[in-house]
């Protein structure tokens, strides 16, 4: 039901979102008045501060419960965790602007990225279909523009592709939402199955289309086609943000749908297609990585596979599974951001660090970056001593425990395939420098270097202190 006027509006609940939105408004003005050579850092600084503030505000709400705006936005641990992940992605991506992107565009880009972060935050807490839609579209619309922010034709092309495909997918999702609304007579996720037609096939076909939309956003095969092209075309910070924030936010919606909206007694046949998509993604994503020459593109395919991994944890929709999904999501966020940070550290406005050829014999020129990059790649491959390893174990154990052993096996298979691709980069980095004169590498600013180190440390520490948010599930409903 929609909120009646008497419901008093709880602004605290959406304080983080407001903070980000305000920051998004401030950044362009600051950009206007900033001196030419300060624009880059001014934008990053303000954006970063806003993000940190939002993160702080967000953290306070961990304990709170209930919903605001008449059930439109849920509070509590579940929302907070995903919001924090989104903010982490935002902060990490903002740092990438330090080296990439022409200075004059940084201000606008940062503002847009903040806006799309707003969308992601909305999705994290969205507890009815309208909020979901609003969040997804806010996220996407900003990203369309961000994708086109570079002068390269590839960048514009990616924007167009993303726009058309994403809007199409949104169309399917809208229709699905309409059918779900038709099934229950309500837009609240929590009461989807209560309405008169709950038993009708509206619910089923509606969910089907809804899943299609989510699968597209999570870039699950076969709805992944957009991601390699868009990731490659988009500017590096945008790719980084997209690869983490979109997945996180969409996973939040999906989890909420699976855990809160659906009755517990739902027949397994209802969810089977999603797990099949997961399996398919693991194969397609890992296979797709094999012959790539561009890091962003490779990570796009990797993202497809990783999305599959994430779903293994949700298979069987157990409480533990959700925790491990979140654990792995955090790990994934960190390793992805780490990889992109290294790439950015090797990049200039032309994003030289995006081509894999730039990594040949890196170890002899930038041993630190090479070592860290290897660490992140090992983490993506799931090797110790990284959170990727423990994450894999946790995913596998949920897969086995819930009886989805075939997903576990596919996970192993996919990992084996992925190793080719990841190790190929490592191999290139540790190859002996050949005679050819390499282009002079840019010197990355110290914040970037420090952030990379922090990512690395975090990955190692997470292996030994598996902090999964306990009692998260009660928050979902």
């Amino acid at each position: 039901m929609i909120a009646n006027p008497t419901t008093q509006v709880d602004w605290n609940g959406i304080a983080p979102i407001i903070t980000i939105a305000v920051t998004a408004l401030v950044v362009p003005f600051a950009d206007l008045f900033a001196r030419t050579h300060a624009k880059r850092w001014v934008a990053i600084l303000i954006g970063g501060l806003g993000t940190l503030l939002a993160a702080g505000l967000c953290a306070q709400q961990y304990g709170s419960t209930g919903t605001v705006f008449g059930g439109a936005f849920a509070l509590g641990g579940f929302t907070v965790v995903f919001e924090e992940i989104v903010l982490l992605a935002l902060f990490g991506s903002l740092l990438l602007f330090a080296t990439t992107m022409q200075e004059r565009r940084v201000g606008g880009s940062v503002a847009l990225m903040l806006w799309s972060a707003c969308g992601a935050l909305l999705m994290a807490g969205a507890s009815n279909l309208m909020t979901v839609f609003l969040g997804i579209e806010l996220l996407s619309l900003a990203l369309y523009c961000l994708c086109g922010m570079n002068d390269r034709p590839a960048s514009r092309e990616s924007a167009l592709k993303y726009l058309v495909l994403s809007s199409t997918a949104s169309g399917f999702m809208l229709l699905g939402m309409a059918l779900l609304f038709g099934a229950s007579g309500s837009v609240a996720l929590s009461s989807l199955t209560l309405g008169g037609l709950a038993t009708s096939s509206f619910l089923w076909s509606g969910s089907a289309l809804f899943f299609v939309g989510l699968a597209f956003k999570m870039s699950l095969a076969p709805f992944h086609a957009w991601s390699p092209d868009v990731y490659e075309g988009a500017p590096m910070p945008v790719t980084a943000f997209m690869s983490v924030a979109t997945k996180a936010a969409t996973l939040a919606v999906l989890a909420r749908f699976l855990y809160a909206a659906l009755p517990t007694g739902m027949s397994s046949a209802f969810l089977l297609p999603i797990w099949i998509l997961a399996g398919l993604s693991m194969l397609v994503g890992n296979l797709g990585m094999l012959a790539q020459t561009d890091l962003k593109r490779l990570l796009a395919y990797s993202g497809v596979a990783q999305a599959g991994y994430l779903l293994v944890a949700l298979a069987g929709t157990t409480a533990l599974g959700l925790r491990y999904a979140i654990y792995y999501l955090v790990a994934y966020a960190i390793m992805n951001l780490g990889a992109f940070s290294v790439a950015a550290a090797l990049s200039d406005e032309k994003e030289a660090g995006s081509a894999l050829s730039a990594y040949h014999a890196l170890a002899s020129r930038r041993p630190y970056l090479a070592a860290m990059m290897s660490l992140f790649l090992l983490a993506l491959a799931g090797l110790p001593p990284t959170a990727g390893f423990l994450g894999k174990i946790l995913l596998l154990s949920t897969g086995v425990a819930t009886g989805y052993w075939w997903l576990a096996v596919l996970l192993i298979l996919g990992t084996a395939i992925s190793l080719f691709a990841y190790a190929k980069i490592i191999r290139a980095m540790y190859a002996r420098p050949d005679g050819k004169a390499q282009p002079e590498l840019p010197v990355a600013p110290w914040p970037a270097m420090i952030s990379i180190a922090l990512y690395g440390i975090a990955l190692v520490v997470m292996t030994f202190y598996p902090l999964t948010p306990s009692n998260i599930v009660p928050f979902v409903r």
Binding site: M1, I2, L129, M130, F133, L134, E137, L141, Y144, C145, G148, P153, A154, R156, E157, S158, A159, L160, K161, L163, V164, S167, T168, S170, G171, F172, L174, L175, M177, A178, L179, F181, G182, G185, S186, V187, G195, G196, L197, P228, D229, E232, G233, A291, Q292, R297
Partner: protein
């Protein structure tokens, strides 16, 4: 539920919106002019709107109406951005054809 509130059978509304929807889908999938593609997208979304309105009526629940308005607003924004991007992409192109944009592949 009470279908008498509808002058026409519920099924017809659904059928109509599905028809519109798939016209839109076909437009996106088959037409090569980006502008028409954008219009087709609008078609899909509006098909959904129609369905929202219908069910809002069925359930006497104006959430559906609100949703529809929301969609229309977003669609406007989306169309604006879309046109902008199309312009940027095809600025120096002779003929406007989505099949020409395929630098990114593999």
């Amino acid at each position: 539920m009470d279908l008498t509130v509808l002058p026409v059978a519920l099924g017809d509304y659904i059928g109509l919106s599905l028809v519109i929807f798939f016209i839109g889908v076909a437009g996106i999938a088959l037409r090569r002019n980006p502008l028409i593609v954008l219009m087709s997208i609008e078609l899909m979304w509006n098909a959904a709107n129609l369905l929202f309105i219908t069910f809002a009526r069925v359930y006497m629940n104006n959430a559906g109406h609100i949703f529809a308005f929301l969609v229309i607003t977003v669609a406007a924004a989306e169309a604006a951005i879309g046109l902008a991007i199309v312009v940027v992409v095809f600025r120096n192109a002779k003929n406007v054809d989505v099949d020409d944009v395929r630098i990114l592949r593999g």
